[in-house]
């Protein structure tokens, strides 16, 4: 008689580890948790010290009248009350919103267009991708100086080219009407590379079977783009929109180098105004109040985007 074989079912019942085994696992789990915390600690400390700390400090400073040297004086919400009649603040906010809501869609369109082109299986795509990414990888201040030179009204390259077509180009950076569009064009050129890389990664992650199925069903290229590409690219679009809007609300360096906020205050951005209030006019409390308003704007706009995300962003078809 054959000896009964032990099946999994008849095998010795599973037992929760007890005694030394459970203790070993528990110790191991504990030491892993400790190691995880040790690894996280520098990053967490960095976040607390360099991100959360300054935000809280800015909130406190916004309630003070402080010129850095005299003892700070608590003035409650007076700094926020000052914002109402401050025309320059509202002008700076308007300029920042104008910059954001024109430059972000333009950047997205250019990025998406280039990503779609590069996704056509071009030869030497890596070379094109690297070249197109160069503006993004270049220091903004250096790029801004080059664009100042391009925009020179009388001898600049842009007006020289326009002149070749019989067009009398405007005085770009010293014109009330053209200074902000000129800044936006430069910013789009500077930042499309970032969106392009994100979109390209998104495009390459879309399964080819979906395109083949659409082809079999006789879908036109536009319909394929609308029904397959765009929905599956929506997470990339969402990420790029959120980061671009946050970045655009913080625009500073290119405006400082190219126009210094002028002519008048037509290109003064909010961050530039905050910097000037705090470090040139020595009104730390008022600058902090402006920062808190900017922070609130960014939080509200980002939260709104996350709300819309539920309806517009698709992670599968």
């Amino acid at each position: 008689m054959a000896a009964p074989t032990r099946t999994a079912a008849t095998a010795a019942p599973r037992r929760t580890p007890r005694g030394p085994l459970r203790g070993r696992r528990s110790r191991r789990h504990g030491s892993e948790t400790l190691a995880a915390w040790l690894f996280l600690l520098p990053s967490l400390a960095g976040f607390l010290v360099f991100t959360a700390g300054p935000v809280i400090a800015a909130g406190v400073i916004s309630l003070l009248d402080w010129n850095l040297f005299s003892p700070p004086r608590f003035i409650g919400l007076d700094n926020f009350a000052r914002l109402g009649p401050d025309d320059t603040f509202w002008s700076a906010l308007g300029n920042t919103a104008y910059f954001t809501f024109v430059s972000v869609p333009l950047t997205l369109l250019v990025s998406l267009g280039l990503a779609l082109l590069l996704n056509q299986g071009l030869r030497r795509m890596a070379v094109f991708r690297s070249l197109l990414l160069l503006p993004y990888a270049t220091i903004t201040v250096a790029v801004a100086f080059v664009w100042v030179w391009l925009y020179i009204p009388h001898d600049g390259l842009i007006n020289a080219v326009l002149g070749g077509f019989g067009i009398d180009g405007p005085a770009w950076l010293i014109s009330d009407d053209w200074a902000m569009p000129a800044l936006i064009v430069m910013s789009v050129w500077k930042s499309f590379g970032f969106g392009m890389v994100i979109f390209l990664a998104g495009l390459q992650a879309i399964p080819q079977q979906l395109y083949e199925a659409a082809k079999v069903d006789g879908a036109s290229p536009w319909r394929t783009f609308r029904e397959v590409t765009l929905p599956l690219l929506s997470p990339s679009v969402f990420f790029t929109v959120v980061t671009s809007i946050i970045g655009s609300f913080q625009v500073f360096d290119q405006a400082l180098v190219m126009t210094d906020g002028g002519p008048g205050t037509s290109t003064t951005t909010l961050v530039m105004y905050i910097y000037r209030t705090g470090f040139e006019n020595y009104e730390q409390g008022y600058a902090a109040a402006q920062s808190m308003v900017l922070f609130a704007f960014i939080v509200v706009i980002t939260a709104a985007q996350f709300l819309f995300q539920r309806r517009l962003v698709h992670y599968d078809l």
Partner: protein, 437 residues
């Protein structure tokens, strides 16, 4: 098993090591040892850096202690100084551009030096030009000791004038405004040649305002006299050179910190006859490929009274006890005749002391007029009058004045537009002065 344990142990060790290193680094102090003579200065070029290195060697030779200077590019210098003053890490002596002295003094960032001067029989304040003593004072007290001082002068392109059959201007008798304007127009052939260049900012405009008998700041009232007839005459005169007479190269750039550089670049191109600027640009103008020289600033209705600017060394308020004694000795050394001779020989600018060496070797041949203007022997000068909130005044005017220079607004409209805000800043300035005194 043992390999897994080793890896974990290694990672844990690495994490702990990283934390320990971070902690150790953050706990370390990188400041110089006690007793070191520490001072801060702006420095934007290798040439400037060489001068300050020589200053450091001079301090070490004279004081027999170690010198440690903190050098920062000029654009970022005030912000860095603010942060170091607030964090208590500022040097015991800090350089200040003259137009910032009232700002720092009124905020209590630097200490008055009168007690130290009075207690030091070796220190002779009378050896400094009156203009720099005025620039370095606030509310009747001395807050800094100068190291350079100079009036704005008129650079002219000798070659261009000769080519156009125009005699060089007199090095001792300033041209009248009428003569200057006629010459500027005569020498202008737009796109190829221009009569004059300056920046469309208050820093350059103020020299013309002083020459007309006007000012931006009025010591006795709460309002700015910038809209007074004298100042308006000057503003119209300069704006007209830009917009009506077309005697200036077109404005390409409104960025304030580049504005003065743009005027210099225009002049160095060789197709501009006159440029207003200070002798601190002599080093740069020497790169010109044409012959040039300097003459006194054109005389307006009130004479030739261009802006006189200067820079100084000051002691932060936080310096006390033994450090204060060391700081005062350091400040005296940095502004001594010997140190200023180094500065003058390097051709940085005109030294602030009468006893320091005469400025640079030629060109310009007429450089001696700088010291003669400061002594009141030729033409004249006007110490740069600024407020305790001059940063804000400057920014306000930088926003609206260029529109007049560009012809986008009339000079009258531009000034009318800024006057309410300018007067508010003047009232704030008066309050700051009252509180400080």
């Amino acid at each position: 098993m043992s390999s897994s344990f080793s890896r974990r142990a290694l990672l844990k060790g690495a994490a702990l090591g990283g934390l320990a290193t971070t902690g150790a680094l953050s706990g370390c102090s990188s400041g110089p040892p006690p007793g070191t003579a520490t001072w801060s200065m702006w420095s934007s070029s290798p040439e400037e850096q060489r001068v300050w290195t020589d200053f450091g060697h001079y301090v070490e030779r004279r004081m027999h202690i170690r010198s440690a200077s903190t050098l920062t590019p000029s654009d970022g210098y005030p912000t860095k100084l603010d942060l170091r003053l607030v964090s208590g890490t500022a040097s015991m002596v800090t350089a200040l551009n003259g137009w910032l002295i009232p700002t720092y003094a009124s905020r209590g960032a630097h200490r008055p030096l009168d007690d130290l001067i009075a207690a030091d029989p070796d220190f002779d304040l009378d050896d400094f030009y009156p203009a720099i003593r005025s620039i370095s004072s606030f509310a009747g007290r001395t807050y800094a000791i100068g190291f350079d001082v100079a009036p704005t002068v008129l650079y002219y392109n000798k070659t261009l004038l000769e080519r156009n059959g125009v005699d060089p201007p007199s090095p001792t008798e300033p041209m009248s405004w009428d003569t200057f304007r006629q010459l500027a127009i005569e020498l202008s052939k737009p796109k190829d040649q221009y009569g004059f260049t300056c920046s469309p900012t208050i820093d350059d405009l103020v020299s013309w305002i002083y020459c007309a008998g006007g000012n931006v700041v009025d010591g006795d009232r709460d309002t700015s006299p910038l809209d007074a007839p004298e100042a308006m005459q000057a503003i119209h005169y300069v704006v007209d050179l830009f917009t009506k007479d077309r005697a200036t190269p077109p404005i390409d750039n409104l960025v304030t910190q580049n504005a003065s550089g743009a005027a210099l670049a225009n002049f160095l191109q060789g197709n501009v006859a006159f440029m207003q600027n200070g002798p601190w640009q002599v080093l740069n103008v020497r790169k010109a490929s044409f012959e040039w020289d300097i003459v006194p600033f054109p005389a307006g209705p009130a004479g030739s009274k261009p802006r006189v600017s200067g820079s100084s060394f000051a002691i932060p308020s936080g310096v006390k006890g033994d450090d204060l004694d060391l700081a005062w000795r350091l400040l005296k050394t940095l502004t001594s005749t010997g140190a200023l001779d180094i500065y003058a020989r390097a051709g940085r600018n005109n030294p602030a002391r009468l006893s320091a060496a005469s400025a640079f070797e030629p060109p310009p041949a007429n450089l001696g007029i700088v010291q003669r203007i400061l002594k009141g022997e030729v033409a004249g000068g006007h110490p740069f009058d600024v407020t305790t909130n001059w940063n804000r005044v400057r920014l306000l005017l930088a926003q609206d004045l260029p529109r007049a220079f560009l012809g986008q607004k009339s000079a009258g409209d531009a000034i009318d537009g800024v006057m309410p805000r300018l007067n508010a800043l003047m009232r704030q300035h008066r309050d700051a002065v009252r509180q400080a005194t």
